[in-house]
């Protein structure tokens, strides 16, 4: 079954801005799906239409078996939203926010309270359950928004930049949590600026640019299209004789750092064999940029200049 079907979706704002142009998209039930695109591409407009925060101009949206226009209540009941901006009442206590949100979905308080307790413990907010939400740190607020989106057990979780401004440790722990949620059967749609996040978590991907879907495929096929990669090698000793690297396409960043560009069909073994033969010792190696990022930049049109 499809968790989400979008057909011929268009949105033109009152100021004439065409935010979405004939968007078609399908997300399978159980998928972990990435919706990527540069700023202003139409990601947030799409999500806002799915969650009824923005009215579409034309087209249709179906969430599982419910049409968003004719079965609005049912369609909305399937969705949990983690928005980009903090949007809870700063004066309300953390636990009240969750129980109230569950109430909006018809979950009675006696059922919502234990659910809220479980989520607060899982997301490390238990100690703050009686605290006004405005007193939470940025990371805690992000986790509270995830807990709030999950308290009514949605079948489709939509995360709009869930880890923006979150430190690496917390981001990683959120990834683990989201993977678990997905493995338990919740379909997840994620938008993020951290392409590493999308590459790590998502199985399928759509890239939106200037209101159009420019790519919609599975992550593996997309990454396979990458025909070359750039690796950064940290050398144990400074490279003083450039003739040692004759025959290798490289760029020296500083005496102990070089960047090597390899075609996809070239293996890393050959490179290391050559380096070993020539007595060059490598301490560590990493991708120069995330693989998805490299592809992303080829798929979306970049602004001509950034001031």
């Amino acid at each position: 079954m499809k968790a989400l079907t979008i057909e011929h979706l268009n949105k033109t704002y009152r100021n004439g801005l065409e935010a979405l142009k004939d968007i078609n998209l399908k997300v399978e039930e159980g998928d972990f799906f990435a919706l990527l695109g540069p700023n202003g591409a139409g990601k947030s407009t799409t999500i806002s239409i799915l969650t009824s925060l923005v009215t579409k101009t034309s087209g249709s949206v179906t969430i599982f078996d419910a049409d968003l226009d004719s079965q609005t209540e049912l369609a909305k009941s399937y969705i949990g939203l983690v928005p980009q901006e903090f949007n809870f009442n700063g004066f309300e206590q953390v636990k009240h926010i969750l129980v109230t949100q569950a109430g909006y979905y018809g979950v009675p308080a006696k059922e919502a309270e234990p659910r809220a307790d479980v989520l607060l413990k899982q997301l490390g907010l238990w100690e703050k359950r009686h605290t006004a939400s405005r007193s939470l740190s940025g990371g805690m607020k992000r986790r509270l928004m995830i807990a709030r989106a999950l308290v009514h057990n949605p079948r489709l979780l939509i995360l709009d930049e869930p880890t923006a401004g979150v430190d690496i440790e917390l981001r990683r722990s959120m990834w683990v949590f989201l993977r678990e949620i997905n493995q338990r059967g919740t379909t997840i749609i994620l938008t993020t600026h951290y392409l590493e996040e999308a590459e790590n978590l998502c199985r399928n991907i759509a890239i939106i640019d200037k209101g159009r879907i420019v790519e919609n495929t599975d992550m593996k096929s997309l990454l396979n299209r990458l025909d070359k990669e750039t690796f950064v090698l940290d050398l144990l000793e400074p490279l003083t004789d450039s003739s040692l690297l004759q025959g290798i396409e490289y760029h020296q960043v500083d005496p102990t750092t070089i960047e090597v560009e390899l075609q996809r069909q070239e293996g890393l073994n050959d490179l290391f064999t050559v380096l070993t033969e020539r007595g060059i010792k490598v301490g560590s190696m990493k991708n120069k940029v995330n693989r998805l990022e490299e592809l992303f930049l080829t798929l979306v049109e970049r602004p001509e200049s950034v001031e």
């Binding site: 925060l53 009215t55 928005p83 949007n87 809870f88 109430g103 909006y104």
Partner: protein, 259 residues
Amino acid sequence: MNNRRQHHWIAFSTIVTREIRRFLRIWAQTLLPPAITMTLYFIIFGNLIGSRIGEMDGFSYMEYIAPGIIMMAIINNAYSNVASSFFSAKFQNHIEELMVSPVPNYIILAGYVVGGAARGLFVGLIVTLVSLIFTKLTVQHIGITISMVFLSAVMFALGGFINALYARSFDEVSIIPTFILTPLTYLGGVFYSISLLPEFWQNVSMLNPVLYMVNAFRYGILGVSDIPVAAAFAIILGFIVALTSYALYLLHKGTGLRD
């Protein structure tokens, strides 16, 4: 269908509970000021000035103004509770919690209106208790008194909701109460009987809906009124139907909420 109805009921009671919790949490802003203001009205107008005015419609001035002051507190608080709570929800964006949820518009409206009416009634009760320090109130028509209190609170809560939907700033939330609600209340027969006015101004006063509420409520308590009580009920019910329809139309259109 039953399941759906049950969900609606839970959502409705959740909104009402949240609204009541809100005005109880900020009691120093919501419950204390009307108690102090109304006490001052009783002391200044009822006690100090009222003793020189003498009787009005056969009652001491203090007795005469008490129902009007109670009604004034009810409608002001019912209005401002919904206006400020709903606008704050817009301002802080947490109205999105409701907008993404499956709660239908009529439940959102009913929840906020009942929450606002609850504050109106709560404050009305406080002011009634304060008034008992200054005068004796014997309710003549209990049914009329209770229904008028509830209907007036609902009507003004609806007004507050529409105000909050249109408002784009906190200034716009206070414009209607300051420039429309306050004059209507003061000219609505709280402190005087319109029989004291020249005929022209009596006729003008009849256009003021607050006059009907104050007088019908006064009739419930004292048994006297400047206007026919049945007309008061008809007008208030008419306003409630019109304001409810308009608020639902605005919610459906997404006025002030969504592009």
